[in-house]
Symmetry: C2
Subunit: 774 residues, 2 copies
Amino acid sequence: MSWDHTASISTLITLQDISKAGPTKDAATPVLSLSAQARSKGYDSVCLPLTTDNWKKRWTEMCLLPNGTDLAADMAAERRAEAWRAKPGFLLDEVTITQLDEAEGVIVTVSDWLELDASDDWVRHDAEIALQQELAYAAYLNIHTVILPPPRSRQHVSSYARTVNACLKKSPYMHISIRLPIYNPSVLEGSISSIPGSPSIPALQPASPAPSTPRLVVSDDRSTDSASTNLDATWEMWDVIRSICDYNTCLSLTLDLTPPLPVNSSFLNKWKAETIRYLFLPASTFIANTKGYPVLPKGTQSFIRDSVTHRPVVILSGANLGLHNVGGELAYSQYLRHLEKTSPSVQAALTSGTVENFAQGYQDYLQAPLQPLMDNLQSVTYQTFEQDPVKYHNYEEAIYHAVVDWPGEDKIILCVAGAGRGPLVARCLAAIKRAGRDAHIYAVEKNPNAYVTLLGKKEAEWHDQVTLLFGDMRFIDVPEKADILISELLGSFGDNELSPECLDGAVRFLKPDGLSIPSSYTAHLAPLSSSKLFNEARAGKDEKCLETPYVVMFRAVNLLSGDGGGTNGRCGPQVQECWEFEHPRRDAVLDERGLPLTNSHNVRSAKLNFFIPHSGVLHGLAGYFEAVLYGNIGLSIHPHRKNRISKDMLSWFPLFFPFKEPLYLPSNSELQVSIWRLTNQQQVWYEWHAEAFLNVNAIPFDTEVPVPSPRSATLANGGSFFSSPPTNTPSPLIDANDAFAFDRRASIESGSRLIKIGHTSLHNPGGRSSWIGL
Amino acid sequence: MSWDHTASISTLITLQDISKAGPTKDAATPVLSLSAQARSKGYDSVCLPLTTDNWKKRWTEMCLLPNGTDLAADMAAERRAEAWRAKPGFLLDEVTITQLDEAEGVIVTVSDWLELDASDDWVRHDAEIALQQELAYAAYLNIHTVILPPPRSRQHVSSYARTVNACLKKSPYMHISIRLPIYNPSVLEGSISSIPGSPSIPALQPASPAPSTPRLVVSDDRSTDSASTNLDATWEMWDVIRSICDYNTCLSLTLDLTPPLPVNSSFLNKWKAETIRYLFLPASTFIANTKGYPVLPKGTQSFIRDSVTHRPVVILSGANLGLHNVGGELAYSQYLRHLEKTSPSVQAALTSGTVENFAQGYQDYLQAPLQPLMDNLQSVTYQTFEQDPVKYHNYEEAIYHAVVDWPGEDKIILCVAGAGRGPLVARCLAAIKRAGRDAHIYAVEKNPNAYVTLLGKKEAEWHDQVTLLFGDMRFIDVPEKADILISELLGSFGDNELSPECLDGAVRFLKPDGLSIPSSYTAHLAPLSSSKLFNEARAGKDEKCLETPYVVMFRAVNLLSGDGGGTNGRCGPQVQECWEFEHPRRDAVLDERGLPLTNSHNVRSAKLNFFIPHSGVLHGLAGYFEAVLYGNIGLSIHPHRKNRISKDMLSWFPLFFPFKEPLYLPSNSELQVSIWRLTNQQQVWYEWHAEAFLNVNAIPFDTEVPVPSPRSATLANGGSFFSSPPTNTPSPLIDANDAFAFDRRASIESGSRLIKIGHTSLHNPGGRSSWIGL
């Protein structure tokens, strides 16, 4: 295979495997010989239990006292236990690994009978001592990763989590992964605990007296509410664990895919925002295809295809048990490689020209947004952005149509405001040529270094058709007013690189009936969950790093909002528009030079209502922009519309507005996001804040049934998103806001009981952490 | 009057008052002459509006443009507005105060027509500029406090709050107080907006077409749920404001008492936890008593009596309007002084021997708990605690009864473990004498400095009846085993000064049938709200100060929990027991010296379920202890039981376990608190954590109806709280915990929809911020 695997495959070795394997002729140990066999079968690593049944027996006899029938024996056991508690340690036959070479590259599972969440204080205390002992022994053997058995109940998960946190503190170089079923398998009508190859998952799947064929209640997309609660139950436990462990980067998930997954169930999306390091997959989860080869159920297939982009280790268990007739042991890992190769995200990353390919290495990497007004960009930065084939293509089309549509026969005056190294000038020349119109171009640039490049291009290519002007578009004068003003000043959030303020200055160059390309742009937001981005943002040097927006290519994120919904249907779509800027702006009061007296007219604010269908943790806001260049030609990084408007455009990753404190949002809750664009005479900045609400009288939602929504309506009518003018149309959002009255009258009249349940801090007040210089 | 007033009284001067008052013969200004008049009437200060109607007129004409009927006039207004926005400032006739001497000691109200929460971005932006201008002018005049008009709607309160925060940042020495009605007066069936003397409160009390006598819907203690929501509405706005302002200590509340208050309504308790600096009280709120003098409605009376302990300024308005026939203007302030003098908390503070008197100056002051095992106390510390009349009285009674009850005629051997400077030794001698029994006392002390005092007392007073032993009770040997072991090692949370560990050592001195005084003790918790304590705790030098328990005499706090309630009634009482220690402990495994091998047996944990009847913000946990000394003699700081068990005991203030992040709790929510007492060979520490839940199918609660609860049951049966032995009795708490099963079976079978809505961090993991040395 010619590409690097994104996933690696490990095989689970059991205590039975070890006891069956004798030492080989080269005097290797059973573990060494099993590891060698696994490598020869193509596995990247092995996973095995650290302790033997002897350890279980000793611990149980010491720490779980029989009920007082023999007091002397109990006291003797308690005396042994006290001695052990004072100085915990193993005997030789209590562990599977004793040599460094046996431990090399292995993943170990700790004793799965440890009740870290026992309700009994003593049992839990002794289980914690045992766990610390196992971790210390693993660390001694240079083992880097251990997998813990899952918690047994929601009731005591905080005790489980507290223990895990204590272990993380005591073994700072050890990576701890928590095994959890992807959902609580009790929503299965039958039981799967008796499936061979599936090691016992204590408590989470209690043995059912009448096993039957597993059937998924959610598969008909009409989950009852209690089923939906149970679907969330394991995620909720994970959330408690990683929160109590304060998002420790040495903590991850081993997601157990034993329960078969539904197809297209949006409740699975939440796992995308979590740190999944291992996927546990027993051979018993595979079904036979028509030829008898093992394949996975459709839902599990697509989950794995989506997950490989996170580079997980898949731990296969029971592949050697012969559960399927055809293909043998290797059929399972070959099938996993097939899923990987056919994963859309892997394929996109392998195809040049895609954002996925362009963004290799930038996924979930936080970058400070550019400040091209304050800082002069470097040539290499211009070069990167000039490579975007889609953006400049759309600009040329917009200029071409604007020129073609321009009335009369006179020479057309174009002005490129912010010419950089000249890509827009070149597109202007191409468009004019195609249109067959007579035109002259003024190119304004304030970066003295880029201006040298422009001078070179004029001398070599452009000659008299282009006049270069050096200076800041907000302050210089031009010899002639333009018909068409062309600029590329947009940031990931539209106005966040001060396009409005710059064009306020440049609009002086425009004739009264002139037009601007772009003619308008809008900023958009959606609430987002991502442990990865939360950890990346707070890894900065001070707390201000959690109050600054970042440019990020999203990967391990999940948008928490659904389309529409909420009490009285007042919530807007998944991604909502904040505000708009239009150019040229004709209503501003200007001074004698044609400049606005203050920047007050560029103040904006938005209050957005999002419906949160599935519980999740809010870590930030995803910011996007859309721009109308001319007519129905635009640019968009809006996740639902970018492919129709500017597919494969590379120049902008989304913006990420972090929240300092993760905010827990239950299923069917509503999130009110406030965002302000503020300004003084020197700076522009954003402040943001959110409040969460829950409707306690809500009728249970059919969480998987799509709610008719503004977005799907737009998609359905098949027209361009520009087909109705973006302004003056009653926005469904604004209507929703108006309907959302918390005041006396509304709350008494409607009987609505929308209850506040939480909020974030106000972020970046006064621009203390982040501002853009005017 | 011989005592310092706890409240001070201010009078509100209106624009009408100012325009009526001409300058006096000594050429004073109207404001100076009104201030002098007020002082002569006994007011401590005056409150007056900062701006005149001229300012309102100019701002309105500039910033609220008429709807485009005259474009030229609009443009001219906009031009003036832009000039003002660029350089904001007043004209002479737009302000009431122009001289430093006029401003001295006055409180000003800013323009009450400023719409800081307008939905229109422009109006809000201009209102913010105007507010900043008013604050800057007030600061210029050395005015330290301004009162802001209330927000107009819940909908835009985040914008209001953002503006206030911007002002606090820009005027760091200015104290800003937000005027808010104590509840949303719209729950009144009629309107009170037309009452004279009550300045207009914009929007919060919309004019009603049919004014009628105000009648409080809640007064029958059976509020509907929507009324309860409205009762919380203004508090909820305050919570948004102070949260967005990050609990700024320059921000406070001016609580408007215009709406009459219900008697004994627990929803008012939440205001106790807030920073109330001013109470706004119009003369119109007063009613006439039988003689015609102005008095307040009962609910308002008791609210003010409770509030004076927070040292508020009461701003009286309209006292000069002659609304009541008898008593004249001075009758109002005289009546307020009467309320102050008859306030139970003021009276308690004036009575020597009460905790309130003893604790003067210590209210809400955070102290690190003592570590008497690790540190040797100073003589002055011993002296303070020896002054407690109640504690040592109860000890003497306990010793007396234990000696009287002691079987046989032999000499009784007593051992005081931790004798300090000798108060318990003295009580032992007194008890023995009263009982007429022959006894000998061993007194063990490890503090070499206190030991000198003991040596002095032996020589001077005790002679041969007492044998002194120098050393740590965990390690020394005694010449003779004791019948009764007496110790006073308890902290505010019972075991938090390592009494269990010390007595594990001292129990070696006890004969097999010996007894310990105390014989047992328990730790108790309740969830608590207090902006003051939250701010005090985080004022420490690093974030660890929010993970350490403190000893605090509570004042500005509110316990959030109610008694019982919750889904299936599984929540316990308002204050719940965590765990218990009993002495002597007879089941431990000991080494040859009689000492335990590990400290594992002193590990404890508790998971408590609290019902939260009224919305509030969780800032921490209040910790208390109770101890059984002997029989039914005990010590208690449990808020409901201390007066029956050890009234006026001074030695212990409660413990405060802070939370780093305030957690919002809606009405009728449930809080699950986990707390662990953990130990290794060197240290003991607590970790704590909480999760919040809401039952979305909850039937609306009658929030004012008391729920039958374990506590009130205990109170009702009239017996001692010790009447049933504290152990082996099924605790209502433990039953509740058992009933609280989140597991599959329970959640499916009961159809319960308890939804998680939030959690705190795990606090003090691994004892990183706070531990007690062994």
